[in-house]
Each structure stands twice: as C-alpha cells, then as structure tokens.
Symmetry: C2
Subunit: 446 residues, 2 copies
Amino acid sequence: MRWVWHKNNKSPFRIIIAGFLLVILLGSLLLMLPAATRAGVSTSFMDALFTATSAVCVTGLVIHDTAAYWSFFGQLIIIILIQIGGLGVVTVACAFMIPSGRKIDLMQRSIVQEAIAAPNVGGIVRLTGFILRTSLLIEMLGAMLLFSVFSGEFGFARGAWYAVFHSISAFCNAGFDLMGIKQPFSSLTDYADNPLVSVTIACLIVVGGIGFLTWNDIRTNRWRFSKYRMQSKVILTVTGGLIVLPALYFFFFEFSEAPIQERILLSFFQAVTPRTAGFNTADLTVMSQSGQLIIIILMLIGGSPGSTAGGMKTTTVGVLFANMISTFRHKEDAQVFHRRIAGETVSQAATILGMYLILFLAGGLVISRLEGVEVLGCLFETASAIGTVGLSLGLTPQLHDVSHLILIALMFFGRVGGLTLIFATLFKPQNMRSSARLPLERITVG
Amino acid sequence: MRWVWHKNNKSPFRIIIAGFLLVILLGSLLLMLPAATRAGVSTSFMDALFTATSAVCVTGLVIHDTAAYWSFFGQLIIIILIQIGGLGVVTVACAFMIPSGRKIDLMQRSIVQEAIAAPNVGGIVRLTGFILRTSLLIEMLGAMLLFSVFSGEFGFARGAWYAVFHSISAFCNAGFDLMGIKQPFSSLTDYADNPLVSVTIACLIVVGGIGFLTWNDIRTNRWRFSKYRMQSKVILTVTGGLIVLPALYFFFFEFSEAPIQERILLSFFQAVTPRTAGFNTADLTVMSQSGQLIIIILMLIGGSPGSTAGGMKTTTVGVLFANMISTFRHKEDAQVFHRRIAGETVSQAATILGMYLILFLAGGLVISRLEGVEVLGCLFETASAIGTVGLSLGLTPQLHDVSHLILIALMFFGRVGGLTLIFATLFKPQNMRSSARLPLERITVG
Ligand SMILES: [K+]
Ligand SMILES: [K+]
C-alpha cells in the first residue's frame, strides 16, 4: 500500500491521526531509554509502544506497573504523553503556535475544530485558550486537594509529585497511577474509604469527561439549563444517568458488606470510573459477573465528544435512544430537547455502535483463542482498550505480543474516534456526497 | 390501564397480537388437562403458559421434557400450536376464511400483509395459498425422509408420528423434539453422525427460515439472482454468510476431536441451528465460552422477516451493515445491490438492534440476580428466548416463576416482532408522521 501525502490530501482527519502517531512513536523511543526504568534496563519496543499508546490514548492499560517499573524520568514522560493525549495533540500544537505569532490559516483552524468537536470554525483560537487555561486551573486545584492527603503519607517532595501526577491522570481520564509502590497494580484501592481522594479524583474524571464545549456552555449560561446547546443537555443528562443508575446497582448488589460511608464512596467511584477513567478503589476481580458485565457496558459507552475521554460517547447513546423513541412514535425524525436530529447523525450513531460491537467482540474472541483464556476476561480487556478506560481484570500483563498489538489498535481506534480514522484512511474526500441517487426499494427489518 | 378496543383501533398490528395471545391462552388451557400428561396429572397454569408460549412463538425452550412429560394428546396440541405459530396466526385465519366464501376486505388483507411482511396488499390471497401449499408440501417431503430413519428405529406407527412431528418442528423453526424418550433434553445429539437426519432437519430449518417471499422470488426467477427483489438478495446473502462463517469456526476450533464426517455434520448443523431453529446435535454445555458467545450472537440475529423464524432478522443486520459502509464512504443514503434504502428503514434497524440488546442484557441481569446464577448462562437463555431459538444450557427448567415470566415476555416479543408490539400498544396511530418539524441542531457522535 502506498501512503500518498499530497498537499490536497491534508484533510483535518489525516493531520489529527498523523499527530497522534508521531507523539506515540516519539514517546516509545524515549521510554526505551535505560534511564526510563528503575532497573536502568532498556525496555523492548513492543512494551514501550504499548505504554506510549496507552498514555497518549489516555487508556491506562499497562504491561508493567507504572510505579514499580518506570523511573521518575519514565513517569515524567508518561504524564507528559497523557497531558498531550488528553488535551488533544492538535490543541497543544495550536497553543504553541499562538505565541510564536504565526498566522493561523483556515486549514489549521479546521483541524483544531475537528479535534475538540466544536460546532463551527469561528472563535476557535479563543476557545482553545479557554480550554488550556481552564484545564491547567482545574488540574492545579485537584493537585492541591490531593497534596493535603499525599504530603502526610509520602512527605513533601514525593507528595507533590504524586498529587500532580494523579490530578493530571484523573483529569485526562488516563487512569495511570503510582500506587504500585504499595502493591503492584493496586490502583486506588487503598483510598476506598478516603472521601477526599475518592471524591476529588471522581470530580476530576467527570469534569474532564464532559467535554470542553460543555464547560463553555456552563460558563456562559450558568444555571439556565434551557439555554444550553442541545449537545450539552444530552451530555449532562446521559452522564448523570450513567453515574446514578450504576451507583445504585453497585450500592445494593455489590458492596453490601462495606460500612455505610465506604459503601457509598465505593458505589459512586466505581460508577464514575468505567466511563473511560480507569482508576478503581474496589477489587474488580472479586466482583460478580453481573457487576463486571455492567462495567463492560459502561466502558464501551465511554465519555463525551470533545473531551479527554474515549469510547462510543454519551451523545451516541443519546442519539440512538432518541431515535428509538421516535421510531416507537412513528415520527419521521429523531428529536431531543425540542430539537431535530439530522438523519445522517442517526446513521453515524448506528455505525459507531456497530463498529464498537464488532471490534470489541472480534478482539475478545481472537485474544481468547490465541491465549487460551476464557472469553469473558478477554472481553473485559478489549472493552477497556476500545473505551480507552484502562480497568483490567489482570490479564493484560500476561498476554503475548499479537494480543498486545490488538489492544494497541483498539486503544488508538477508541481515542482517535472510529469515524475520524476511517474517513482519513479508507476513502477519498472526493467521494463525499455523490448526488446521483439510486432507486429506492423497500426492505422489511425486525 | 384501560384496554380500549374501538372499531377504529383495529390496526393490523393489534389484531396480530390479539390472535397470538388468544391461541396461546387456548393452548395453555388445553395443556392443563390431565389427559395432556403421561402421568395423568394436571399441569400448573404457569408451566402450561410457558409451554404454549414456547410452542406458538416457535421457540422450543421447555420446562418439562416434551417426550417424557406430555402424553400423545399433549404432544399433538403442541405440534398444532407450532404449526399455527409458525405459519402465522393470521395466515391460518385467512386460509379458513377463503373456503368459507366470505369477502376479504382491505383491512383483513392488510393484516395478512403485515403478518407475512409482503411488500403490497395486492395478490395477498394468492400468495397465502402459495405459502400454505408449499409449506405442507415441504413438511411432507421432510417427514418422508425422516420416516426412512425413524421407522427402523421406532417401528411404523411411532416412526411416522416422530417423522411428522420433527418435520413440522424443524420447518417451523420450533426446535421441539421427542428424543427425551432416550435421555431427557438430549435433542438430536444421538443423530450427530447421521447425515440423513442432520441434513434433512438443517434443510427444513433453512427453507422455513428464509421467508415466504423469498420462496416466491426463487419460484418466479429461478437462477436469475439479479432479477430477485433486493430483500431476497439481502436475505440469501446474509443467511449464507451466517451459515458458512460460524461453520468454519466450529469446524476448526470446537469439534476437532470428532471423525471427519461427523465433524463436518456437527459444524454445519450447529451453524444452522442457532438462527432460531433450536435443535442441537452437539452438547452445548461442553462447548468453549467463545463458542457459546458466537451462538448467543447468532441467536440474537435470528431468521428472516415473513418466515417461521424470530429474532432481530437477517435484513436488520444487512441494513445496518449497508449503513456502515455508506457512512464510511460519506454517502448520504445506505445502499445495497444497487438500491437505495430509506433513511427511515435505517432508523428502524438501529431501534431494533438497541431494543434487542437492552432486553437481552436486562433480562439476563435480572434473572441472574433473582436466581443467584452466573450471568453468562442467563444471557444464553434470554438470547434463546428473544431470538425464539430454544437452545439451552439447561438452566430454564430450574428457574422460578418470575424468571419464566421474563422468558415468556421475551419469546412473545421476539416472535411478534418488537416494532409490531410497540406500534400496537404504546402509541396511537394518529400520532403518525406529524408534519411539524422542529429546528435542526447539530450533535457530535462517536
Ligand atoms: K482511561
Ligand atoms: K426455535
């Protein structure tokens, strides 16, 4: 296959993808340096590639425990990759461009627009500035709150480093943690009954996951919900529902042995985290299969568009649900919050659902067959990868290279956004919207 | 809730549903008679209702083994319910109507049209005659082939009864069997290496499952595939793919210990049966989890519209796949075999996929919670119910009444067709297609 890179091929999609790939490759090379590991050994390319992909795609699946294996230098590279991946490669590039005084042309603006899912090209530069300022502010606030706990536990210097690392990792929905120093792969299980850590991390996750444009809406319209853009309303409603309902399930059926405060914290945290965050305060391997299945479903759904999160997206679920209601009511168009949804959007949402189901199931089946492990555990890891979540039942470190490559592909797909990837690679833009229409023929479904 | 039954409420949908319910209730009462059981005892209403629903909805899930529990009279009721359910309550009603010389008005015609998924009202009576004649012919042919084996094994009279019963059950995709006489719930496992039984049953299943209109197309156009209606092309292509691909998987990964002829037969039969037939020649409980997952997916997909089969339907899968391709190619409309698919059809297909996923998952989770069994087994039974398949990992007979009610509801939903059910019960027809359009607003998905 020839990779043609004409000037007129620079669609925003391709540039986003090239940016992600470049950052991943650079990160992999840096992580291969002996200085990046505690033991001072060189990491294999595959393991470095997996770690860099997991960081840039803000997934959090790891082969080596982050605290036990990587040196401070390695951890620094990882958190920088997370910050770049979380805020979007292009947003960062744009931020570097503004102070340099170079003119930002329409092509560059439309790249940024695609990356942050903005509704139109105007005001992109102002919006990017707002995103970067707000992100840093929130991360600093989170770090300060975490520092009040971590400084007592780890001392000043390490406490500060841990506070910054986990605040960025939580806000970017990355799910990397440094708690392996206590017990490898333990994530935040030690803080299950600590409200300050649990609630701070959960809030960072939610704020990072609802999308930059939703912030803008909240900043502009404050408490006047009815003034919000339809997309913000859908995001907030679906996000709320997907936190409250699973939290109730976990409260009543999974954590009934814990004391009441810990039980509430556990239920809330485990409801927030599967939608692309990837920290856990409960041991997921001892959960019931039903609980694991609910987590798989939440992982596939993921966060909101134009945010630090991955997955199928809350809006996709909202659109499919609205479409369901409109079909039941014999309405021609799907509608939500008194707005009509374009038929094209419904088609795209159906495509995304189909792609996620196919890739998640196919990946799980192939890994199960390759590794000779039971399929439910494999499906947990593939859902975690494609939703860029990073929760794990412990299988990932034991897998072979081919399975790791499958997970790398799924993480990339989940973060870049399936449609972006396909638009950029498979079909030429000149194919868009051919106006010749074929004759219509009825077909019965269902 | 008030059940209003005005004259102007007689939508075809409601009449189809009322017909199914009436036949199920009548069947339940007959099965409660002591004469219906071998032991001469009266069966509880719940068990009789479950059996009658399973028969009319051509599912094949059973609480009591058909051969061991029910008398000849009971088995006769069951096979009559299967024949009525398989050919469609309304088709049968129509068949009784024709000889009685009564005028068939447009409303009656449109009921039949809905029931067999015909593209237009004209020619319905002729088509119904064709369906009934062909069905009986194929069932007789199947019975004769099976008789050549069963007469040797069970003697003339019982051999004939077994041949007729299994031919009807296979053609109607019902999956009820009388082999429990050898070992309860053994289905056709005794005939795994018998090509005559395996292939005859598999062919009856496929012919019954591709839909009456597809037959009509094949009869009219013979080998000129390009002349077929688009729907027939989609049905034949998807059906072919969904037999060949799983058969290859089963051949290479599941039945590798069997001798070559049995291995081919096992793979072919187990690939055909999950798409709503429900017989099995292999012991499904010893299959790998991956194999069971593939069977769950095939069960959810089901057969083709306007046939004896249930499930999401092959056309739904075809439409969603065509929509996926068109999204990838930035085309406005989904297209398949050089025909455009209406946007409304894509919306309906997405709704059907969503409903099946929600009901299958919710049903499995609730049953798992109620019964305290692991969720994968429960999902197998709910997929089997909603796809009206009847395959089982053995859980169904052990469940409590509430779980049985859930399965009854899923079987009914799967057979009647989800949209038919919702159109008939939830919303009034006057709501159809309100022409007032809300303002369009963009929303980002995926
Ligand atoms: K993550
Ligand atoms: K069946």
